[in-house]
Subunit: 328 residues, 2 copies
């Protein structure tokens, strides 16, 4: 422990709309400690960033980390950021942070270099450096949650492109005449497999009078129906639930075929809450890609679950420090 106590550490902050996490992480990806806090809101000041700065100081103090051991603080932000200036462009769930220079605020409060990145960027970077992608140089990550996010790594670097759009896999078109997406397009992956769309599809099947164990579990107005409940029912062999998983896997598989021909990845990672369904989701994804992606000969066993789960954002934020530069 004494050698470890002299190793430099990075602080990773994963800022979410409801809670934020702070962790101390070494360059090798060892998590020394982590804490979770509620995210405070305010109408007229960046309360979340002030709270994050205070939490960083608190963690460093309670762990007795000397200032000269701290390589910097990295923050993952749930919205687009400006990689050059360290400014938060837009934060849909924390509007009071719009336009705030987060790195200036954090570095002044803590006296250490600060870096910010978009949360999808951070999660992809975390898997590339410390997670399921640590042995490859080229990967595509799809994060299936309330929405569908993602990221692309090429030659061992996560890329966002000149307008920070690169890797927005949730807006690949998988059903051109499909339902309208929040983005204005039709049939985007997010419009077909986001959390609510998965639940809506299960409800539609239930309302057709299909027999399913979900009928009981859903509650009178289906308010108990979540992707997790559907995945559990599928694990128990429920046919309706299996159909929901198969449909989700199909659409994700179609999107992955597009990722293969445009990005030529070594590995494809599935992360986010819905990915907790494991093989029940991976199997229909792989089946779709196997049938549709013959020309590329892509080995579908290279479609795997992400490893870092809810901690990916925090690991990736710390990794920003080691990369030594702010990124989109």
């Amino acid at each position: 422990m004494s050698a470890q106590r002299n190793n430099p550490v990075a602080v990773g902050v994963d800022l979410g709309g409801t809670t934020f996490r702070v962790g101390l992480i070494t360059r090798e990806g060892e998590l020394l400690t982590q804490q979770e806090y509620p995210t405070p809101r305010s109408d007229d000041e960046p309360a979340a960033l002030h709270a994050a700065a205070a939490a960083v100081e608190g963690v460093l103090e309670s762990e007795a980390v000397k200032a000269d051991r701290v390589a910097g603080v990295g923050m993952g932000i749930p919205g687009p950021v400006d990689p050059e200036s360290g400014t938060i462009r837009q934060c849909p769930n924390l509007h009071e942070l719009d336009g705030v220079n987060a790195t200036e605020l954090m570095s002044q409060a803590t006296g250490t270099p600060a870096y910010i990145g978009n949360d999808a960027y951070c999660a992809t970077l975390a898997e590339l450096r410390y997670g399921a992608g640590r042995d490859v140089a080229n990967l595509v990550m799809l994060t299936l949650g309330t929405g569908v996010g993602g990221g692309i790594a090429l030659d061992n670097e996560v890329r966002r492109g000149p307008r920070q759009i690169m890797g927005e896999v949730g807006h690949l078109i998988v059903e051109p005449d499909g339902p309208r997406c929040g983005c204005g397009n039709h049939g985007c992956l997010e419009a077909l497999v986001g959390r609510d769309r998965m639940v809506d599809y299960a409800i539609r099947l239930l309302e057709q009078g299909r027999a399913s164990s979900l009928g009981e579990r859903a509650g009178p107005r289906h308010e108990q129906l979540t992707p997790r409940v559907i995945a559990e029912a599928a694990q128990g062999g429920d046919e309706l639930a299996l159909e929901v998983m198969a449909r989700t896997g199909y659409y994700v598989g179609v999107a992955i075929c597009d990722c293969i021909v445009l990005c030529d990845p070594d590995l494809i990672l599935i992360g986010g809450g819905i990915a907790g369904a494991g093989q029940l989701l991976l199997e229909p994804i792989r089946r779709t890609v196997r049938h549709r992606s013959m020309i590329s000969g892509f080995d579908v066993s290279r479609i795997v679950a992400a490893e870092l789960g809810n901690e990916a954002g925090m690991y990736g934020a710390a990794a920003l420090v080691w990369e030594g530069s702010a990124e989109g």
Copy 2:
């Protein structure tokens, strides 16, 4: 002219299944001379490469280019190549070249360094260095011809990925339940807008009894119907022909939306024979992207025609020499 006569030159060879071109091109992209030759076939030797080597020597001799002015010979190959070894992996239209080390053969025959690249790679490189993309660093090119090829440039480099699949835009899925593609998938862009598919669609509309000037021009068994004839009829205001162009533009537009979210390009180039239709094709492409790509705010005036036409392969082959390395 005397200064120019001392400038170093690269030889660009664009090897096609029917003809090949040889050109002398400066580093700045000035074409000093070019020649076109029939491509010889043979069952048991790489006759096309021997002919290309002889043609290179002939052009250098007739232009009185001293050996020390020649920076090297670059060759564009219609099939996958091995960027490391200079070997042609597979050449579907010239099977006798399969597995031949083309750079070794060419450099021994001409006494100058030789480089090879895939033809789609070369065409993209040509537009990036000398054509419509010379002022940007990130572009996607779609080449609409008999098939649909393409390429991707990021940070001013054409990328092919570890398996040389990156940029195969012809196999983006634009209609998941659409017709079977030669690759085994369904609804690939190539299965919907390749040359034959465009003609097939026009024939289908004609056979429905639709009035069109194409009825007369097509010939008794529609054998006169080509994308060029369709484009000419569209220019004359023929509604059936305009519908064929609109459908082609729609599918290309859907594919471009996927390219935007995965690659974040500064510019999108449309090349190949069908692209000769100009605004008649660009307009429905832009309309589709404008309606579908709101989230990215992509400026559809950045979807433009490629500039180098049939000479792109030759320019790109010469550019391989200046890049100084063989590429996929």
